[in-house]
Amino acid sequence: MSDVATFIELGFRHITDLKGADHILFLLALAAIYRFRDWRECLWVATAFTVGHSLTLALAVTNVLNLRPALIEFLIPVTIVATGLENLFVRDRAKTPGIRRYRPVLAGVFGLVHGAGFANYLRSLFVEDIALPLFGFNVGIELGQICVLVLTFTAFMAVDRLIAAARISGVGRTTPVRIRAIAVSSIVLLVATRWAVERAPW
């Protein structure tokens, strides 16, 4: 296997590992508000996350940036909480100005935090030759994210149909997508809040 393929696989495994649920949870929070037909927008947001994440990772492994691991471990669930809250509070996105612009920016900024999360590992192991591992690892992360999003959207479609079928009456004018977004965001919010409290560095 070529060097780059090795690190692509490493990044892919890292992002799709169910035990390291932070990334998956963040992707769930990012995707929670979208319909299947919005997949391009969601992919753009996820890519902005990767760009932010790659940037910090590059700065951290080259020693330009040095952040306290305890602070990063706390900030990661905070970004998930913030995304969940944004999902809950912004009701009508069509009427919110600049929504298409600010969500990728938000994801990019949050990506900056997540990238620092495992920078220490790569920096320690690949002391002499970091460029290729870093590139491959990030490509793997992006590919892994696409797979997670495909599965997420498939699950969301099924949930939307169930909600639509159940919506004989009694849930007012709230759309199935909005109900699903509220449910997913609330669960993500609960879990990430617990993590944030447990990881508080003070």
Partner: protein, 174 residues
Amino acid sequence: MVIARKWNRLARLVFGVVATTALAGARVAWSHPLHTTLTEIALDSTDGAMRLTIRAFADDFSAVVARHAGKPRPADYRVSDTDVASYVAAAVSVEYTGGRPAPLTWSGVRRTGDLVWVTVKVPSVRSLRGVKIATTLLFEIFDDQVNIVQATSGGRRQSMLFTAGDGRKFKAIS
């Protein structure tokens, strides 16, 4: 109306169960570490031996070495050379071209920062081509462990991944 109320109750119940399960599943020890080691393989022109240099994180490595030796986990990550050699001999296997098991000879261990560097040698290797390696380092303690092996020969580098899910599986250097 009755059906709608039942659906609402069911939806709230499903939401409650999922939320409670997710919350309970979010363990205190949450984090997203990379459980990885890096082993570099090269031919040593001075003595015609194949040199394996293993890099691992000292905290995890000392834990698995102590466990292998039947000792408690050391607080300062310090383990004896004998215990390290014994663990590496059990976790890393090399076969010469043709399938004959190769002996690992101890070369040394050192520590820099949070890393531990272990060097072992395989004598009488003329070429890396066809040599097979299997590594199960730290598989005992992490089921998401991924060991990277990089073999460099004639200016060419080959990388291999060994994952905990695969168990002890030999891969050949080409």
